[in-house]
Point group: C2
Chain length 141, copies 2
DNA sequence: TGATAATAGTTAGATATCGAACTATAATAA
DNA sequence: TTATTATAGTTCGATATCTAACTATTATCA
């Protein structure tokens, strides 16, 4: 634990970054939205529609968790459900116009967060960090 | 989000590491113990006793959360509470002999985790990663 | 001293999260 | 075709986590 505190630092960074995201979302009118909700919306900004299963995989949460998260985003009128005509088991999720309208906000927050996190980093340092993190991830996942 | 996925990698690493910890704890007889519980025990391996407030700060959780976590560890007979004679508001937490007995297990799991995470890393790479993470943390916290 | 403020810890209510069990539908095999 | 198996999604029960409100005790200040 003392010998190498990389994991401790990783936890602190992640927690602080999540806090930043939640604060910024609230400051931009999205109160009660947590990073996982944001992950869902960001996935949907990159594709027209998405099944529950695909969404769960992409945000690295179980289907059970996703059900709860999706219910909340529906209550906030940011996304909506739609039954697949081909396969009645499948539910598609897509953004509402309101959900679409927040795309710019999410891009802005993402940029601000990255600027903040890596302020003062040279291009080499950023590249180096990402490579080392990729290597770490490959070791553990 | 695409420009720089360092934070994404950080989340994945943290999640995988936590999973590893939970699995190893269970394999060593500590079923239902999550990393936060482990954090409490690890703090207590480094000091004789600790107040609730100090513990909460050290594991980076609120006092309310700590109350729940401590209750569980007491139920597992790994720690115990003790009222301060000087100040009746204060509660000390200390390890039971059973809790003490797991010290070696925690050290072993910590070592194994670090070996796994940073397998194939040169000393320079490890040092470099930690420095970059420290810099990142300083930027965001 | 007596009132007010500060501090330690718990409780209450909400929510994200998970695994396991469940329902409903589709695909496959006998 | 019918039975079995696989898949998509939800529900249930448990728990970690937070904020806000609360209780109890100690410290401060007028």
């Amino acid at each position: 634990m003392k010998k190498n505190n990389a994991l401790y630092l990783i936890s602190r960074i992640r927690e602080a970054a999540n806090k930043f995201i939640v604060q910024e979302l609230e400051a931009n009118g999205l109160k009660g939205v947590v990073p996982s909700h944001g992950d869902i919306l960001v996935v949907l900004y990159g594709c027209d529609k998405c099944t529950m299963k695909e969404l769960a995989q992409k945000i690295h949460r179980t289907k059970a968790t996703l059900t709860v998260l999706v219910d909340k985003l529906i209550a906030l009128k940011l996304i909506e459900k739609e039954k697949s005509p081909q396969d009645n088991r499948v539910t598609y999720i897509r953004l509402t116009p309101l959900g679409q309208s927040y795309k710019g906000i999410f891009e802005k927050i993402s940029d601000e967060l990255n600027n903040k996190l890596f302020k003062g980093f040279s291009d080499d340092e950023t590249k180096n960090l990402v490579e080392l993190l990729q290597k770490t991830r490959a070791n553990i996942e």
